[in-house]
Amino acid sequence: MAGLGRGRGRGKGYMSFSIEAVGIGKGENLPPSILQPTPLFPPMEHKPVPLVMGEEAEYMLALKQEFRGNMKTLPFYVRQAVSKKDVERYSDKYQNSEPSDNTIEWNPDWKRLPKELRIRVKKPLKENTSLSVDTPVDPKPSKKTRVDKEEIIHKLETLEKKEEEVTSDEGEKKKQEEEQQDGEEEYDEEEFEEETDYIMSYFDNGEEFGGDSDDNMDEAIY
């Protein structure tokens, strides 16, 4: 701003330019100088214009909120891996594992990215193979495993035909398993249910132990 006063009794303030030119008359009351930052929510003298409401605005609003919601479910939403709890649990094998840091959940086109960015692609659990496969993922290994399964199925079928003592129950069971191995994502949980002896919905972590029984109040709970 204009220069400070060298003031020895020069009155209110002395500026390097003549303030009449800018319009401040002589001896006029200037507003006091402000010595602190302006308030966070200053009072508004003029109210703002109301928002545009209408079909178009509402549709765009819905689009925006939907888009945000969808982005949170896509694999592009990178979440930091939560550190594991104290002990490894049996249920960890069969419940959804949290995203881990060193695998990527989608399959980018590695030719468009520099080589140093390659990390392991997380194979979905349904394949019944190990949880992560080494770089890069080609359709070949999955085809190989499918081909292997088909071979096994053929072998089993021929064996079935040869053996006449195979009971109908066993045959049906094998066919069921074959169908399930052919099956796609939807039978994820049920496959695992077949393998374990426990029904998933009944599985109890045991962490709520001790808080349930209110029947015998006279017995002390240790």
């Binding site: 605005a57 609003l61 925006k64 982005m71 990178v78």
Partner: protein, 522 residues
Amino acid sequence: MTAQEVRLCGLLLQEHFGEVVERIGTHLLRGGAQNLRTIANETNTPLDLVKKSLCVLVQHGACEFGSGRRGPGSPVEYRANCERVLRVLRYPRYIYTAKTLYGDTGELIVEEVLQRGHMTMSNTVKTVADRLTHNMEEGRSMEYSEVVSAFSKLVETHFLQRCPPVAEMGTAASSTTPSNPDCYKLPHVTLIGRGKRRRSSDDSEEQRGGKKAKMEVESCGDEGIYWQVNFERFHQHFRDQAVISAVASKLDQTSSEIVRTMLRMSEVTTTQTAAYTQPLSANEIFRSLPPNYSISRPILDQYLSLLVDDPVGADLDSPPHIPTLNLQRALANLARATLESVVQERFGSRSARIFRLLLRKRHLEQKQVEDFAMIPAKEAKDMLYTLLSENLVQLQEIPKTPDHAPSRTFYLYTVNQLPTARLLLQHCYKTVANLIERRLFETKENKRLLEKSQRIEAILASLQASGAEPEQLTEVEEMITAPERQQLEALRHHINKLDSTENQVDETVFLLESYIFSTKTK
């Protein structure tokens, strides 16, 4: 990359990609080009997470990579693109425009491509067909061919373009059209099939058939050809819309139709940064007018001369009979109107009068301002100083003598349109960032309540699906008390308002950005 832009980009990245990507993204935006190790060390993030985030950013075009500064041997460097991240704010507008132009199919195509950054054509067609089938009635499904035709229309009108090819060394070519001649060529792929509806009962039958169809479509023949949304084309469309509506409100409907016809005819031939449209003869315009506007030739000439004389809106520079639209001036006029309305809303109509006066008369002294604006001296002074403190108005000194003595210099008030537009643009960015932060704050405050309501909705849905009695439903509904319900209602209302405001501020952002951009390229 100003501080406000970086802050806004950070918030947008956080909302759409999570906090990890936000951290990496803001670091890149603030620090310029860096290589992988530097990023990992300076942000204290594990290397794998950094790699994941960079993959996400490159996938969405927000980050580019190139060979390092010290030549081909040095590690790859990554650069974040601030503008591209700011586009995320405009996604709903793009999707809505696609809907108005090409219907639901077009809308879903654009939405899918925006969500995934870039996609192959076959992938897009499959996903969109499945989504459309999902929403259709039972027994009907969407043919791939319909989706393919919508896709080709989008490509023909340049709304979608191919991603530029990436060279082996990891240097990405600049994605401007000249260096990418096949930008708009559709790949020769025949996609035959229908959308699949995901139903559990059908799955067992579709297993074998489904597997075979999947294997066929996988090797579809357009591997490596990725499509992305062409933002520039959408911006051109928005700009045309703005000009047309300005003409319509200033003059009348017919003249806006004329302007619309002119713009449509030069749509594909005009590049985004062109200041003028292609010259068109009046005959061509006459022939291309829509049939319901049956105006005769002399009336058309009258309208054209009216548009020429009009100082605001679309300006035609014409030797007669060769009208062109001066888009640069049109944008400047639109930006000026925006500035004027901002001053009006914030400082009142009299300050706006002073502002408009200064815009037209360029330089005025204090006394002249009072006289021309017909405002008493004291109030005029007050308003001028308020505008000056907000930096909307500047003081210009003109010395009379070489020694710049203050008693012998003129002090003139002036408004410079371009710097003021830049200032307002930064204010807009700050506004949107504040809106987003406030929305996040409101959501966080009421997190408990929101979770409770979500859980209850889930319970209600499962009860209804398994056919429960109405008493059970009311019992569950009563788990939310009335004051809680009111609180939820108020919360939803606030969040909707904040979201809607972001959309509308973005319209102003678009106008100002286009104006500033048009002045850069001369």
